[in-house]
């Protein structure tokens, strides 16, 4: 991957990638692996970007796909630790990465959601339009509104516990 490509096409969007990778990884080491893999996939798939959507939307979609694939692989490897889609709560407590305590708590809560719910809420918090979220997730726009409402309610319960 050329430095130029990384600097001009990935680095300006590294924030998005970091936010997504943080939500799907459970250690600094995992996070770095996920981040690297996403960057690599962006570089590998760059020719597939047809310009039908914004570059950032494309990066969102690709980052989510890569993270979900890596998570699946990790789950297979650590089946004894993962019984549901979400991270076990006791593992999350040890992974403190954000200086902002509220943000850390919010991330811990997000990690307790299912994989798809995590993707939806991340896109919502990044202020992506419902239509775009629906397109990325592969559902219809009406469902997204209902889903977000439910996820927010769940998050509220998790965060007030």
């Amino acid at each position: 991957m050329s430095n130029e490509f990384y600097t001009t096409s990935i680095l300006p969007y590294s924030g998005i990638i970091i936010k997504i990778c943080r939500a799907y990884s459970n250690s600094q080491e995992d996070f770095e692996d996920y981040y690297q893999e996403v960057c690599l996939q962006i570089w590998r798939s760059r020719k597939n970007f047809k310009g039908n959507s914004e570059w950032s939307t494309w990066i969102y979609r690709l980052s989510l796909n890569v993270c979900l694939t890596l998570l699946k692989k990790d789950k297979k490897r650590n089946e004894q630790y993962f019984v549901s889609d979400a991270f076990p709560a006791n593992l999350i407590q040890d992974y403190q990465v954000f200086l902002d305590e509220d943000l850390q708590q919010l991330y811990n809560g997000i990690k307790l959601l299912t994989e798809i719910d995590r993707a939806i809420i991340l896109l919502y918090l990044e202020e992506r339009p419902y239509k775009e979220i629906a397109k990325i997730i592969g559902t219809n726009t009406n469902n997204i509104g209902v889903k977000i409402k439910r996820i927010k309610e769940r998050l509220k319960i998790i965060l007030t516990k």
Partner: protein
């Protein structure tokens, strides 16, 4: 918590420190090491399986066939396989990483190809080494019988045709080894694609 999740999200990421990108220079190092570890572990399992199977077959021939010499012969060939495979494993394990995973993988890939070449040759060679003593023994102990009588099938041929079994078995062994290579090359393929990736990244 009084703030909404939207406020927490926005406020939390105001601090740019939360969004510092990790360095991606060591991209393939851990991946390479993991792949080679998996390759070595697979080879160890295969080696163990071959040895156990060889031992069981030798034991079966000795007890059920009442041919202790054949059993010993198989065990000998098995032991040679074991010694060669152990050496190959040691050679792979001794490959130095030296912080450059591209060169490391190239070196591993060369070694894998060499191992495959040697093992293919040994597989084919093992067939006559095993069969010749058995067939010679069978030939001289069945002086007045035909091939059909020896093999217990309805063929009226001279027992000299027994030795045709050698090239046939060698061909089968060769075919089986090729099939084995074709279906048991996942990690080798991954190593190759990793090398290609790295070559592309250098562009």
């Amino acid at each position: 918590m009084e703030k909404s999740i939207e406020q927490i999200w926005k406020g939390g990421f105001m601090n740019n420190k939360e969004l510092t990108a990790p360095k991606i220079n060591a991209l393939y190092n851990q991946k390479s090491i993991n792949l080679v570890d998996r390759l070595i572990n697979n080879m160890k399992t295969e080696l163990f399986t071959v040895i156990i199977l060889g031992f069981i077959i030798a034991l079966f021939i000795t007890i059920a066939g009442n041919h202790i010499i054949w059993g010993i012969l198989l065990l000998l060939i098995n032991s040679v396989w074991y010694i060669i495979s152990k050496k190959q494993l040691k050679d792979l394990n001794d490959t130095q990483f030296n912080s450059n995973c591209y060169e490391y993988l190239i070196e591993i890939s060369k070694k894998i190809k060499k191992i495959a070449r040697i093992n293919k040759r040994n597989t084919i060679l093992s067939v006559p080494l095993t069969l010749i003593p058995i067939l010679v023994y069978t030939y001289y102990n069945n002086q007045d019988k035909t091939l059909g009588q020896i093999l217990g099938i309805d063929i009226d041929l001279s027992k000299s045709y027994l030795f045709i079994l050698i090239p046939i078995a060698m061909l089968i062994a060769y075919g089986l080894y090729i099939i084995y290579l074709k279906f048991n090359n996942r990690i080798e393929n991954k190593i190759t694609s990793l090398i290609i990736d790295m070559e592309e990244l250098k562009e």
